[in-house]
């Protein structure tokens, strides 16, 4: 049940400048999405940290369970061939 005395929690993502990704900046409470944007602006971009903001209700995020970490992430550990480190890079290529 939703607590009527506490505004719902929103997660805030801020893009620091054009071309970069939105990065998780933190979270805040707000009554609606518009208020969340305004709070995010006041809380997370007051020192020119961003040019764009996303907010999303925390309850709308589906997160992986830390207890599943073994089955989700362990299997990738011994598969070094997935890293592109087995290619010979020609000398002429300088900027890779």
């Amino acid at each position: 049940m939703e607590d009527k005395h506490q505004w719902p929690l929103y997660e805030v993502f801020v893009r620091s400048r054009g071309g970069l990704d939105h990065k998780h900046a933190g979270s805040l409470h707000a009554a609606d999405a518009r208020m969340a944007l305004e709070h995010a602006r006041d809380l997370y971009t007051r020192r020119e940290e961003g040019v764009s903001i996303w907010v999303v209700r925390s309850t709308d995020i589906t997160a992986s369970d830390p207890r599943d970490a073994d089955s989700l992430f362990e299997p990738a550990r011994d598969k070094v061939y997935r890293h592109p480190t087995f290619y010979d890079i020609p000398n002429e290529v300088k900027t890779l």
Binding site: W7, H29, E38, H39, L43
Partner: protein, 253 residues
């Protein structure tokens, strides 16, 4: 010695004092807001207003030409020398009342600054160009809250309705043109207040409609803060605001 341009001096003081007094009022919410997020929201607006006040008061000091700077004008004048409209000094009351006061003034400043960007006075045009961007956000913030509270619960609606009813009569003064306003408009420094009122009114009506609130009936009553005759509330506010500078003259940190 007479002030070089008394009309302009008084006009710029009015602009500065409006921002200064309203900013001080909003600052009083810090640590008392209904939520931490609102604490920061209100403080942000307060700081913008303080920034505007600094620009206006510094300029006023230069116009006056007696060596008074922004600090002296902000902290060392007497009650009757402040020229803000009376609405700005009205106490915060509950959050709803603060929001109503803010909406009424934000919309006024927005309409005023937009026109001041084409003032014949270059310095004022520059300050207005900076301030208008801030003010657009202020109105977005306060307007959002007015709609939320007006179209909210029974209690929030009752509170903003009574605040609107209470504060409405103070808006008459915002648009009451006296000889200073008249002189400024004649010189192309400031817009006609009647024009400002027209678009202000449209702005406010749209917001009230969205908030499902009724526009109060017009009352002929007027206040005279712009001429330095204030309500009893300003003195208490100034006592707190000026305390430090008067106790420790020239104090810095």
């Amino acid at each position: 010695m007479r002030v070089r341009d008394e009309d302009l001096f008084r006009y710029v003081l009015r602009l500065g004092d409006l921002s200064l007094v309203l900013g001080q009022r909003l600052g009083q919410w810090v640590g008392h807001s209904p939520a931490l997020e609102e604490d920061l929201g209100l403080a942000n607006v307060a700081l913008d207003l303080l920034g505007q006040a600094r620009l206006f008061l510094s300029y006023a000091g230069e116009i006056e030409g007696r060596g008074r700077g922004e600090d002296q004008l902000a902290f060392l004048r007497e009650h009757g020398e402040y020229l803000n409209p009376t609405l700005a000094e009205q106490p915060n009351g509950d959050f709803g009342r603060t929001i109503v006061r803010q909406v009424l003034i934000d919309a006024f400043q927005l309409e005023l600054y937009e026109r001041l960007t084409s003032s014949s006075d270059e310095r004022l045009a520059e300050i207005a160009a900076k301030a208008v961007k801030e003010t657009r956000y202020h109105l977005r913030y306060s307007g959002g809250w007015l709609v939320r509270l007006g179209d909210g619960t029974e209690e929030s609606r009752a509170r903003v309705s009574s605040a609107l009813e209470h504060l409405w009569s103070y808006t008459v003064e915002l648009f009451a043109e006296d000889e200073v306003d008249h002189a400024m408009a004649e010189r192309g420094v400031a817009p006609r207040l009647a024009d400002v009122q027209k678009t202000w009114s449209g702005h406010i009506d749209a917001l009230l409609a969205e908030a499902t609130l009724e526009r109060p009936r017009e009352r002929p009553y007027s206040w005279f803060g712009k001429q330095g005759a204030h309500s009893e509330h300003l003195g208490y506010m100034l006592a707190e605001m000026q305390y430090l500078q008067r106790t420790y003259p020239g104090a810095r940190w």
